[in-house]
């Protein structure tokens, strides 16, 4: 089947029900998207489909019906997305394993809701588990990213 990931077309020969997560990681070698739970409880596998955040562990390959963006397609170390810039400046990460998913969730969230309230941040981001407990910095970085995106 054909997938468009980070602006490039890929042909993959996989089962219809292989979760997109494992197509990305084990078939396409895009390792920035992480496996944490496999049941939509942790958010580590979050990517975008046509700009909307989606848990790639839940999305069967055959159900992909839009352009996929992964953390690798959002920004790079040399050219950071505004959310990543805020993440670096705020020094959010501890172990960092959940952060690809956190950042992808925030990027989509701020795209739809550029001036979120604190309550909306708490609602949007509570599906992304951070076992290290970097939540205070995640909140601060979201506010910072919203500011950057508004100024841009």
């Amino acid at each position: 089947m054909k997938l468009r990931v980070n602006g490039k077309d890929h042909h993959v020969d996989v089962e219809d029900d292989m979760p997109l997560l494992w197509v990305l990681r084990d078939e396409l070698g895009l390792m920035g998207t992480k496996y944490g739970c496999g049941i939509a409880q942790c958010g580590a596998c979050t990517v975008h489909m046509d700009g909307i955040a989606v848990r790639s562990c839940q999305l069967a390959a055959a159900d992909v019906d839009g352009d996929i963006t992964t953390i690798e397609g959002l920004g790079t170390p040399e050219s950071l997305h505004a959310v990543q810039e805020a993440w670096v400046e705020t020094q959010v990460a501890q172990c960092g394993y959940c952060q690809s998913g956190q950042i992808m969730q925030v990027a989509s969230f701020l795209d739809m809701n550029p001036e979120p309230t604190d309550d909306q941040i708490d609602a949007a981001m509570s599906g992304n588990l951070c076992r290290c407990g970097a939540y205070p910095r995640i909140r601060a970085a979201i506010r910072s990213a919203a500011g950057k995106m508004a100024a841009a």
């Binding site: 170390p77 993440w87 020094q91 588990l129």
Partner: protein
């Protein structure tokens, strides 16, 4: 090569050793002349000054042997080296290095010993090691017990300083100037005329001379990096998905493995793998110790095939039902199971009146569940085993893997990786041993073995469950007596048993945080009982103090309440260590303790010393119609010197979230011999919306420099319980608290 090795051998940091604990701890004497592992494989023109610094014509490499499990150990170690070496952050690479005796952890040796942190006397320090402790394992080379800063602080600064002075000497000889006229800056030696000679250009010269020794360390007032906010070296990679964890590594010809291991830690009774064998991408299915392994061409295919195996298991060696685990704990409060009686001040029996305050407390088993599931990538050949994983005990792991594959320990090469969390889980070797056993069946082929999250929960060695029976008494508005009997299985004994080492001696972790509480209560006794025959357990962030800290600080709050005293004022009155008192005074000031609060709000305080670090916390909650909301936490911790204030704050906040979240809603219970919780839906921890504001203050009055990864965990749960009491009048004596209250 011979020359480099000779130099390396002669340049061990004698001064550093003396400072960092070069004293005899039983048989764990710090070696005065360990071989520098960097000397092997050093290229021509490259210099190594000690086991932590390597420079060649291209680059500077700093070795950071303490594992980075999210706590920022790489950046911390690099900061200490760069401080004295006059490197700017970003001018060097870092490597975890290979397992080696040179990376002995000298800070933890005292951690298993029955002396309070305040007791630094010769007798206390000289009669160590009679009590078995994690130090015996970790001391080989380990990360744990919040010891990385303590182990590194003097040693790595000294390593940086000797390297710097040697480079200056090399420059002086090369350019015919006096060494005293040289300075260093930003990775270069500066000649008197202002010319900057980059270190990399001096590598070959430095390799040919005897290194300088016994270099005095700089005064704190001269520090450029220590104590200043700096950018963590891994932050950009971790913000862009470009940091490779072990789970992200790919080798040519690699196969993926998944396992079905007995959820009862028992053997296989029978299995049928025919369906699994015929699934797409499955290469093989074969039995391994306590289960079955699947090899496939993709992680998900391996997972699915593992799930498709029809298997029945032998019975567990521990009670099948949770109620019987509790009965075993209840039954262990006897003289026969008495493990330690480390505190016995005054005369508790006489001081406890018939109407003394009495209560029973409980903490459950809890899983580690770091977000990167347990996994390892292993390649076995006839003469070598290569392991790619994140682990906290490299040398122990070498031995364990060698035992599985039949190699010699020295043939096991560990490529340690950044960990996607640990919380103590990566002190265990089982997940790597499983991968090694599978890879050993297909020698030559790299095998990436990944636990499904459900397997990760099933195979976790949890934090021990435990109970406390407490009695306390008061007089004239003051606490006069406190007696705590604590029973739990021994986490250290369980771990040591799995490593095949003798389980001699009691386990100081059972009453950790309670027996050593810095309170001068007139009549104060803490007895610990070791519960046999329950589930195997392990170290979980803050280890024993995660339970016993709750026991003492929750129950003490009850006794203080019975005395009619203020919870914070009475703790201050009782506190007999000025460093600990400072943390209580700090949170009192930060929270404006004593101010009147709106209806429905309540505050609780707790202070626990663990790993030598006193931490005081005040938690503020609101009792809403929908449940308890945790609003704010004020934290003060004294670690002597805060190396990196940003990372310090992040670690403290994370530890508070860890302590609160698991106290709120997490436990492991057994039924039919298996953990009933299989994924995060059933063991959630804290979510972002539940996270309070957390105000952090790092104090620096402690006589020793200590770590912060664990110490803020133990006070969090009791401070929360005490706050809920203040807001609602309900005493919570059992975790998880959501058995009794709802949280929003």
């Amino acid at each position: 090569m011979g020359r480099a090795r000779t130099i390396a051998r002669r340049t061990f940091l004698t001064g550093a050793v003396a400072i960092a604990g070069g004293v005899a701890f039983g048989t764990y004497l710090v070696r005065r002349d360990p071989q520098n592992p960097l000397a092997d494989g050093l290229g021509p023109g490259a210099a190594t000054f000690n086991p932590w610094v390597k420079i060649d014509a291209q680059k500077i490499t700093l070795i950071t042997p303490h594992a980075d499990i999210g706590q920022g150990a790489v950046h911390m170690q690099a900061t200490l080296l760069a401080e004295e070496l006059d490197l700017d952050l970003g001018q060097f690479d870092t490597e975890f290095g290979e397992p080696a005796p040179a990376y002995h952890n000298t800070a933890l040796a005292g951690e298993g010993t029955p002396y309070r942190i305040t007791d630094q006397g010769v007798v206390a320090r000289g009669t160590l090691a009679t009590i078995g402790g994690l130090a015996k394992i970790i001391g080989l080379q380990g990360t744990g017990g919040s010891s990385s800063v303590a182990d590194s602080f003097d040693k790595l600064r000294a390593a940086g300083a000797t390297a710097r002075e040697t480079l200056k000497l090399a420059a002086a000889q090369k350019h015919g100037v006096e060494g005293a006229d040289l300075t260093t800056k930003s990775g270069a030696v500066i000649l008197p005329d202002g010319t900057a000679i980059p270190y990399v250009d001096l590598a070959a010269d430095a390799a040919a001379i005897d290194p300088v020794r016994d270099v005095p360390l700089r005064a704190a007032s001269d520090w450029r990096l220590i104590g200043k906010p700096t950018q963590r070296s891994d932050i950009r990679a971790k913000s862009t998905g470009t940091l490779s964890y072990a789970i992200d590594l790919q080798l040519d010809g690699m196969v993926h493995a998944a396992v079905r291991l007995s959820p009862r830690r028992s053997g296989v009774r029978s299995f049928d793998a025919e369906a699994a064998r015929t699934m797409r991408g499955v290469v093989d299915v074969f039995p391994i110790t306590n289960g079955l392994a699947v090899l496939a061409d993709n992680t998900w295919r391996a997972f699915r095939a593992a799930e498709a195996i029809d298997v029945t298991w032998q019975d567990a060696a521990y009670p099948a039902e949770q109620a019987d685990h509790w009965k075993a704990v209840e039954a262990s409060f006897t003289d026969a199971h008495l493990d330690t009686s480390l505190r016995d001040d005054g005369d508790v029996e006489s001081a406890l009146a018939a109407d003394a305050v009495r209560a029973e407390y409980r903490v459950p088993y809890v899983a580690h569940a770091p977000l990167e599931p347990m996994m390892a990538l292993v390649r076995v050949t006839d003469d070598q085993v290569e392991v790619w994983t994140a682990h906290q005990l490299p040398r122990v792991l070498q031995q364990q893997v060698a035992g599985v594959t039949g190699h010699k320990s020295g043939q096991v090469v560990l490529h340690n990786q950044y960990a996607g969390g640990s919380f103590g889980n990566r002190l265990e070797c089982e997940y790597v041993a499983v991968a090694a056993e599978i890879a050993n069946q297909v020698r030559g082929t790299p095998v990436k073995m990944t636990f499904r999250r459900e397997e990760d929960f099933a195979q976790d060695f949890p934090r021990p469950l435990g109970m406390m029976r407490g009695a306390g008494d008061v007089d004239s508005g003051q606490v006069r007596a406190l007696a705590l009997d604590i029973a739990s299985p021994s986490p250290i004994g369980s771990m040591i048993g799995r490593l095949g080492l003798p389980q001699a001696g009691p386990d100081i972790q059972i009453p950790a945080g309670a027996w050593n509480a810095p309170y001068g209560i007139e009549n104060f006794r803490v007895r610990a009982y070791a519960t046999p025959g329950v589930a195997p357990v392990s170290s979980w962030r803050s280890v024993g103090a995660s339970g016993a800290g709750f026991f003492i600080e929750g129950f003490l709050d009850e006794v203080i309440h019975a005395a009619g005293a203020d919870p914070l004022e009475e703790r201050l009155r009782l506190c007999d260590w000025d460093v600990a008192r400072g943390t209580l005074e700090a949170v009192a000031e930060m929270s404006n303790w004593g101010e009147s609060l709106p209806e429905g709000k309540g505050r609780g305080v707790a202070m626990v010393e663990s790993f030598g670090v006193p931490v005081a916390e005040v938690v503020e909650v609101t009792d809403t119609p929908d449940g308890i909301r945790i609003d704010k936490v004020w934290v003060a911790a004294d670690v002597g010197t805060v190396v990196d204030p940003v990372n310090f704050e992040n670690n403290v906040q994370g530890a508070v979230v860890w302590g609160l979240g698991h106290a709120m809603n997490s436990e492991i219970t057994y039924s039919d011999g298996m953990a009933e919780q299989s994924n995060y839906h059933a063991a959630e921890g804290m979510r972002l919306y539940q996270a309070p504001q957390i105000m952090v203050r790092g104090l620096e009055t402690h006589f020793a420099v200590r770590g912060i990864g664990e110490p803020p965990v133990p006070p969090a749960a009791p401070a929360l319980a005490n706050a809920i009491f203040a807001a609602t009048g309900m005493r919570l004596r059992e975790m998880p608290f959501n058995r009794h209250v709802r949280f929003i």
